[in-house]
């Protein structure tokens, strides 16, 4: 067990190391920090002195060590545009993105579980067939088109829903502003959440249906049915538990995918989150902000993947935790 933890932990550290090298390489090659600071008027000789003072002429390894040292202390540089530490800028936008992911996750869980289970119990009913047809079509629609379609129908034609922004937000704690506590904020959250969830829904409906049909064939379900237990209790309590293992793994990997697609969703809905911030930073060639985003997002990926693996190892007793080659 301990060996499994340690190996997984080592892998996470190696991956973070690679990400930091990539981040540093971006910083090293993209733009000239000196020009951002002093502009064009300073002479070449003065530049050279400044370069030496800032350590820009040091060997790659020395610069990288300094970069890592600062990063470990939570200093990833200062944004050229916002004139503030990049981590502060990113963490100010993080709540918006997290709320979006939370909303989408809620929709995915609340819709895909009942629909998937029903489609497994009654595969021949028209509802199940519609659900499966919907999931095939759903996989083929790019996320941004779902968003555009929703905006066109509900905002432009019907005028029921706001088409951009977060609406009214409230200060909760520090720089953490949430839209979840106001009616306006919740209304703004609906369309973006549906858009983001449209990516995962077809996948999860299919997955839960497939796993559930397999479990329904097993002896213990047949026995419970024969014993006369309430079918609902069997389906949602006994059978569902055993379909959740693969769902956890796939779900964990998909958290990362969702994070990537928040960039698309945020662009469509002008949602002021991290992804939107990143694209703005790219257009302004705000190197420190780009690098910080890469590192923060990389860290989120690594942490979630490691946690999912560990949880999977704990939940599934058949995983060979101490195995030499998993």
């Amino acid at each position: 067990m301990l060996a499994f933890f340690i190996r997984r932990f080592m892998q996470a550290i190696i991956v973070m190391f690679v990400i930091s090298v990539v981040g540093f390489a971006i910083q090293d090659n993209l733009g000239d920090p000196l020009r951002e600071m002093v502009g064009q008027v300073v002479t070449e000789a003065e530049r050279e002195v400044l370069r030496d003072e800032m350590g820009l002429n040091d060997p790659f390894f020395v610069q990288y060590t300094r970069f890592i040292g600062n990063a470990l202390q939570g200093d990833l540089g200062t944004s050229y545009f916002f004139k503030k530490p990049t981590l502060d800028v990113i963490f100010a936008k993080l709540p918006a993105t997290l709320e979006l992911v939370l909303g989408a996750t809620l929709i995915v869980v609340l819709v895909s579980v009942p629909v998937g289970v029903y489609a497994a119990i009654r595969p021949q009913s028209w509802f199940s067939k519609c659900a499966m047809a919907f999931s095939t079509v759903g996989i083929s629609i790019p996320v941004f088109l779902t968003g555009i379609g929703l905006i066109y129908v509900f905002s432009v034609e019907l005028g029921w829903m706001p088409s951009y922004g977060r609406g009214e937000t409230e200060q909760v704690w520090g720089s953490w502003r949430t839209g979840l506590t106001t009616a306006d904020g919740l209304l703004h959250l609906i369309l973006p959440s549906i858009t983001l969830s449209s990516l995962m829904l077809p996948l999860f409906i299919r997955l839960i249906r497939a796993e559930m049909s397999e479990v329904l064939q097993s002896e213990y379900v047949k026995f419970a049915l024969a014993k006369g237990l309430n079918p609902m209790r069997i389906y949602f309590l006994h059978a569902l538990k055993n379909t959740m293992l693969p769902v956890i793994t796939v779900g964990g990997v998909q958290i990362g995918t969702m994070l990537a697609y928040t960039i698309l969703t945020e662009t469509v809905f002008q949602w002021p989150g991290m992804g939107f911030l990143f694209l703005e930073a790219v257009n302004r060639v705000d190197t420190p902000l780009i690098v910080s985003y890469v590192i923060v997002v990389g860290a989120i990926f690594v942490i979630t993947n490691t946690l999912v693996d560990l949880i999977y190892g704990l939940v599934n007793p058949t995983v060979k935790l101490a195995g030499k080659s998993a």
Partner: protein, 322 residues
Amino acid sequence: MSHASESVAIAQSVDAAPSRWEKFKESHYWHSFKKDRVAQISFTVFVLFVLAALFSPLLAPTDPYDLASIDIMDSEIPPSWSEEGEDRFWLGTDAQGRDLWSTILYGTRLSLIIGVCAVLLQAFIGIVLGLTAGYAGGRVDSFIMRCADIQLSFSTMMVAIIFLAVFQAAFGSELYQRLALIMLIMVIGIAEWPQYARTIRASVLAEKKKEYVDAARVMGFGSGRIMFRHILPNTLSPILVISTVQVANAIITEASLSFLGLGMPVSQPSLGSLIASGFEFIFSGSWWITVIPGIALITLVLVMNLLGDWLRDVLNPKLYKG
């Protein structure tokens, strides 16, 4: 007597060896295709798309890349069946006055080129690494597959967005727009190789134990020859199945990247960048610039996914479920 007639029958069948086409007509692929209405329709639509892409310069009434033929006064004309539409442009025009029908034809061509080339690159890298991992085994195997796992844990979209964004910031948008086609193919191609590597490796592990591989080894053939000439042909059906779906995914990825402004430029639009350029005008009521290319994109991807489903059912390969 019976023995003689049998040998005659064999001799006849050797004489009239069935052509490939006849063999194909007898096979169960063709039978299953004849029964499956969905597969037939998707195949027809897909072929139409491919033909439209191949012959777009002939089919398109105007050349959307030719700035001289575009008149800005023609911009945002609705499709010809609506009240304000004009007969010259049956699907209307976009914000720059380009004929939408021609632009969609050229855009489909670009989307398909990027999708197919990216998947060829994926397949090449994935096949080489997957074969090596499966055949060599041991440390090489675990190293390659660990890399594949790690790469898969980062979503393709994220990797592609970050790389293209950094390249765009580094090159400046002008140079980037000229390189966009190659960059898209490279990034989508490199980001998805683990899909192929995993599939191939799983089949190789199954094939490696078979006797013909032992026989080849005993005859003294080198590893490279055994891998590519003997094992690879036997792993082709899973490759075929994932390829259809991968091309569909690559087209979606390309469209999404172009939508973000990281893909094809507006002057040379793929379906994704065409949709992106129309998105600004959807609020002012010019729905067709977004909706019509959107429908084209969804149809193209949908028929490819349906074909992929059908192929998977027919070939029924043991796909690696990871």
